[in-house]
């Protein structure tokens, strides 16, 4: 991620929290947590210690005060993010171009949480204000990583 992308991304996260420190804490934890899941799900094998560390992260994320306050709103979204990421991985290896394109979009499923928090903290208008720039930043970052790996 370039400095500029990182700045846009961080600013979007700050804006989504809308001054609520609990929301900011949750977003930070969630993004780290989802990165961990992304890594685990793409590994061929995993040492138990590494896996169990992510289970501990699971405990901490879902015990954040912000999650507790908003669990009823966020539970379904969490399942959808995991599901989208699962589709992404399944389709990345698929033969059809459209599946690969959709997979690239779904790759950023975890970042949807930033938008969910934005809705809770500032309503639809805040989400709309953040969404396009956030997607641009994460998409560009992903393209950069993919290019560096190919």
């Amino acid at each position: 991620m370039t400095e500029e992308q990182r700045e846009i991304f961080n600013r979007s996260c700050d804006q989504a929290a809308n001054g609520n420190p609990l929301a900011a804490e949750f977003i930070g934890r969630w993004l780290c947590y989802f990165r961990s899941i992304e890594k685990l799900a793409q590994m061929e094998q995993c040492e138990p210690e590494k896996f169990l560390n992510v289970l501990a992260e699971t405990n901490l994320v879902y015990s954040c005060p912000y999650y507790t306050q908003n669990a009823a709103f966020l539970t379904t979204s969490v399942a959808q993010m995991l599901n989208d990421f699962g589709d992404c991985l399944a389709w990345r290896a698929a033969g059809e171009d459209w599946q690969k394109r959709m997979a690239e979009t779904f790759y950023h499923a975890g970042e949807t949480m930033v938008l969910q928090v934005a809705v809770l903290e500032g309503g639809f208008s805040l989400m709309r204000a953040i969404s396009p720039r956030l997607r641009e930043a994460v998409q560009q970052c992903h393209v950069d990583i993919s290019a560096s790996q190919s």
């Binding site: 899941i37 793409q42 138990p48 405990n59 901490l60 669990a71 995991l82 699962g86």
Partner: protein
């Protein structure tokens, strides 16, 4: 675990019963991946974390988070020690691992305390641990 047993420790609390069901699903998903009974695939890994999300998002967990969070975290740590030691060259570590693997019983104990109190916990704790240990021993033997 029988329905009667779950009913006893939950004192008929439906939310607690649901939570125990979700805890069981989560445990199985974790165990299967650690033991290699389920292959390490993206589907299985994501399914495991979806089970975790469902369990932690359940109203029983969220409303008893103050009691349950540390218990689950410490249980995870104990289980991690068990996994680390189960193949140790030192016999005592393998023997400890064989006991520590049943750390998940602590979560059952916590639910029992929350729903039914200390006397019920004292009445079920030792038989529960014995059943867990013997069940595992019968299937897998003991470290030698």
């Amino acid at each position: 675990m029988t329905d009667d047993f779950i009913n006893l420790i939950c004192a008929g609390n439906r939310r607690a019963q649901e939570f125990i069901g979700l805890w069981g699903q989560y445990l199985r998903a974790v165990d299967n991946l650690i033991d290699g009974d389920a292959p390490w695939t993206a589907e299985n890994v994501l399914n495991c974390f979806a089970c975790g999300a469902a369990m932690y998002s359940h109203p029983f967990y969220q409303s008893n988070k103050a009691s349950l969070q540390m218990v689950i975290l410490v249980t995870t740590n104990t289980y991690a020690d068990s996994v680390k030691w189960e193949k140790s060259p030192e016999l005592w570590k393998r023997q400890w691992a064989d006991v520590l693997r049943h750390a998940d019983g602590n979560v059952m104990s916590a639910v029992t305390l929350i729903c039914s109190g200390w006397p019920t916990l004292r009445s079920i704790s030792a038989p529960f641990m014995a059943a867990a240990y013997i069940g595992h021993k019968d299937r897998h033997g003991v470290p030698e």
